[in-house]
């Protein structure tokens, strides 16, 4: 199979206009480059695996005529190594006399102990660099990044939502001449959890040697190895009898955000706990959720400690008796429904916003009265007055 046939390459985004749903981030990055001389010297693009961090840089470079000098932080072996790599990068003469940008991929891979001084060196390097420096990371909130974070422009890529990935997959199927059941693609999109790269690889598997894709086909795609980590974490939390502070780092190296961890807990708590224990565990879940909301509202990341503590020590302490038996944990099964529920909430909210602006009331109030307002929105003239989109009208019809 020649390189051209690998979907990850064939369908990689070559231009910024191929990116959907990351407009704000793209704007920030462009602005960073334009202001490079007087502004921050480096930009950290962070977000979940497969959300498009590296592709974004390449697409940008393509559009703006830059050459990318790429280094992968996981190749670094100690500070001296970092030094020589970076030195070489900045001295490298451009083959086509283009302007350059330096990309250091996956800085999560820099281990503070091993690569001692590596991050500090990186910081001083970027401050002196004559070319814009881009860094990518999965989790930028780790303590080791505290210093470097403040010196960089931060751009977050959101996890692609299932809708986008489904659209993306549909396009690919159309191009490859494959007949795919839309529900099957939606199912696959949900499995991929925002990871475009994984989606491309899986769709390639499904497309090879077949001209149709059905629900059953999608079921056969194995869940990725991500599961092993979370299984171990769940075991630790549910089985630990005497609380030990090591439980606090149960979810640390999972490459999964706490929202996803909550989904796993939500699914599996009833498998381990019952009665009073179950009630206690869900109480901790709900308290943890409050901290999540506070983090978002106040941007006070100090609360993360509490959110995490409740989901680790809290849930663990809820047990009233040891659980030594082996438990087969399951993947969150209600994702599709919860996704649909959230979509619905979004629609209700977007319509409510328009109504609220028009009638001088709060959005909250409009959402509260929605069932009654729905009846009023049946009139065409009113939907016109509020400037409802076709999608919103369609939603109301159901």
């Amino acid at each position: 199979m020649s390189g051209k046939n690998i979907f990850v390459d064939k369908y990689s985004t070559k231009s910024l206009k191929d990116f959907v749903g990351q407009d704000e981030s793209i704007l920030l990055i462009k602005r960073f480059i334009i202001n490079f001389r007087k502004g921050k010297k480096a930009c950290i693009i962070h977000g979940p695996t497969g959300s498009g961090k590296t592709s974004l840089i390449y697409a940008l470079a393509n559009d703006m005529g830059f050459e990318v000098i790429e280094l992968n932080a996981s190749d670094f072996r100690g500070r001296k190594d970092i030094e020589s790599h970076l030195k070489r990068a900045s001295e490298q003469k451009s083959l086509f006399s283009k302007s350059k940008i330096i990309l250091i991929d996956e800085i999560d891979g820099i281990v503070e102990g091993k690569d001692r001084g590596g991050l500090t060196y990186l910081e001083s390097f970027m401050l002196e660099s004559q070319y814009p420096v881009f860094l990518t990371a999965n989790d930028i909130w780790q303590k080791k990044f505290n210093s470097i974070r403040q010196k960089c422009e931060l751009v977050q890529l959101r996890e692609a939502n299932h809708n986008l990935i489904t659209l993306f997959l549909e396009r690919i199927c159309a191009t490859e001449g494959i007949k795919a059941n839309r529900d099957a693609l939606l199912k696959l999109a949900i499995k991929e959890r925002g990871d475009f790269r994984a989606a491309l690889n899986d769709i390639q598997v499904l497309c090879s040697g077949s001209s149709t894709i059905s629900n059953e086909d999608v079921d056969k795609i194995n869940e990725r190895e991500k599961d092993e980590g979370i299984f171990n974490a769940l075991q630790l939390v549910f089985k630990m009898v005497k609380l030990d502070s090591k439980i606090l780092s149960a979810y640390e190296n999972l490459n999964m955000n706490l929202d996803d961890v909550s989904l796993w807990l939500d699914e599996n708590i009833p498998k381990e706990y019952s009665g009073k224990e179950l009630a206690k565990a869900y109480d901790f879940m709900s308290k943890s959720d409050i901290f999540k909301r506070r983090i978002m509202r106040q941007q006070h990341w100090g609360f993360l400690v509490y959110q995490n503590m409740l989901l680790t020590a809290g849930i663990s302490s809820a047990k009233s008796s040891p659980k030594p038996a082996f438990t087969k944990y399951q993947r969150p099964s209600r994702l599709l429904k919860i996704w649909m529920f959230n979509r619905k909430k979004e629609q209700v909210k977007s319509i409510s916003i328009k109504y609220a602006r028009f009638t001088h009331c709060s959005i909250k109030r409009a959402v509260k009265e929605f069932e009654i307002l729905k009846i009023i929105f049946r009139r065409d003239k009113i939907r016109e007055e509020l400037n409802l989109t076709e999608e919103e009208t369609e939603f109301l019809r159901n």
Binding site: S262, D266, P270, S274, G275, K276, L278, A279, A281, Y282, D283, M285, S286, K287, D289, I290, K292, R293, R294, M296, R297, Q298, R334, K337, I338, M340, F341, K344, V348, A356, F358, T359, H360, C361, S362, I363, K364, R365, V367, K368, E369, F370, E371, I372, L373, K374, I375, I376, R378, R379, K381, I382, E385, L386, N387
Partner: protein, 329 residues
């Protein structure tokens, strides 16, 4: 939304806008308040105002009248409307105020007006920040703050405002409003319907007019049946079943049904809790257990106003029922 449409709101198809009072004399209820505010406007001099009172009794309408009387046709350029609970924090509010206050007022009135609704949704700290903003721009801007409970507004802000307490509309006022709307819309609203409307709305005028409009889609004759039908359509169903399952200890089934309900119907977590509060008394469990459940509902409702994920919060509510009579009949 085009300019003309906004101007001619009197011709809007949304009744709450069509029947919004445009003059001081059209405001129903709140006579004392209207008199004093009319006085301020005539003298073209206004202190900061604090409107306190229940929803739907005329706070926003009165602010709009003030602005229109002061500025005439230029009112839109001199008016900024914000809602504290919709904005993402006090910094966003202050930024918007800053941008608005930068430009001078048009016309012979020396200040512009900022209407901040649900000011009591702001935390104490946010209100302190708001007070500083009010001070910084009091030369060029007057604030009209609106809230449900003035006790939630910090003293320094209260002392800087003229406070007006709006009262709930009484039955006579509500009747006047209903009669006005039905006359113009050709509706036939009987006595029982009037009583029903008053009962389900708590004197909230906005809600009443919305209910009238929704009911009119059924027909021109509005009876109590129709009103109750519309109101109950907005209530979540199957709540009784969900509760019964939870109390029987069938947590997993109970939450599956909850998810179904939340998906199929556009009900919010708060609606569900309200309905649980109603259903609980009809259940066949001990009284002290009913009380415990209601207590737990209160806790969860509080968390709902703070926490974002309705499903997790309600789930934990259902889980707590496991602590209460398992299968006790």
């Amino acid at each position: 939304m085009s300019e003309e449409k906004r101007e001619g709101k009197g011709f809007s198809d949304i009744w709450t806008e069509r029947y919004r009072p445009n003059n001081f004399k059209d405001v129903i209820g709140q006579e004392e308040i209207v008199k004093r505010i009319d006085g301020f406007v005539s003298s073209k001099n206004l202190p900061h105002l604090l409107f306190s009172g229940p929803a739907g009794v005329g706070k926003s309408s009165l602010a709009l009248i003030v602005v229109k009387k002061l500025f005439g046709n230029n009112w839109k350029e001199n008016y900024l409307e914000l809602n504290a609970s919709d904005e993402r924090g006090i910094d966003v509010v202050r930024q918007k105020v800053k941008n608005f206050a930068r430009t001078r007022s048009l016309g012979d009135v020396t200040f512009k007006i900022i209407f901040l609704d649900e000011a009591d949704a702001l935390t104490k700290e946010a209100q302190q920040a708001l007070r500083r903003t009010m001070e910084n721009y009091s030369g060029t801007c007057r604030f009209i703050l609106s809230c449900n409970y003035s006790s939630k507004i910090i003293d320094p802000i209260q002392s800087r405002c003229a406070i007006f307490r709006f009262s709930l509309l009484n039955e006579k006022d509500v009747e006047k409003i209903i009669k006005n709307v039905s006359k113009n819309e050709g509706l036939d609203v009987d006595e029982s319907a009037m009583k029903a409307l008053y009962e389900v709305s708590n004197g909230d005028c906005r809600r009443i007019i919305n209910l009238l409009q929704a009911s009119s889609s059924v027909g021109k004759k509005i009876t109590a049946e129709v009103i109750y039908q519309i109101v109950s359509a907005a209530k979540p169903k199957d709540i009784k079943k969900i509760l019964e399952l939870a109390i029987e200890g069938k947590f997993v089934e109970s939450r599956e049904l909850l998810l179904e309900v939340m998906l199929k119907q556009s009900v919010s977590g708060l609606d569900i809790i309200k309905e649980i509060n109603r259903e609980i008394w009809k259940l066949n469990i001990k009284d002290e257990e009913k009380v415990k459940i209601i207590e737990k509902c209160g806790e969860i409702e509080f968390r709902l106003t703070e926490g974002s994920d309705e499903f997790i919060q309600l789930e934990s509510l259902l889980a707590s029922f496991l602590l209460i009579g398992k299968g006790k009949e």
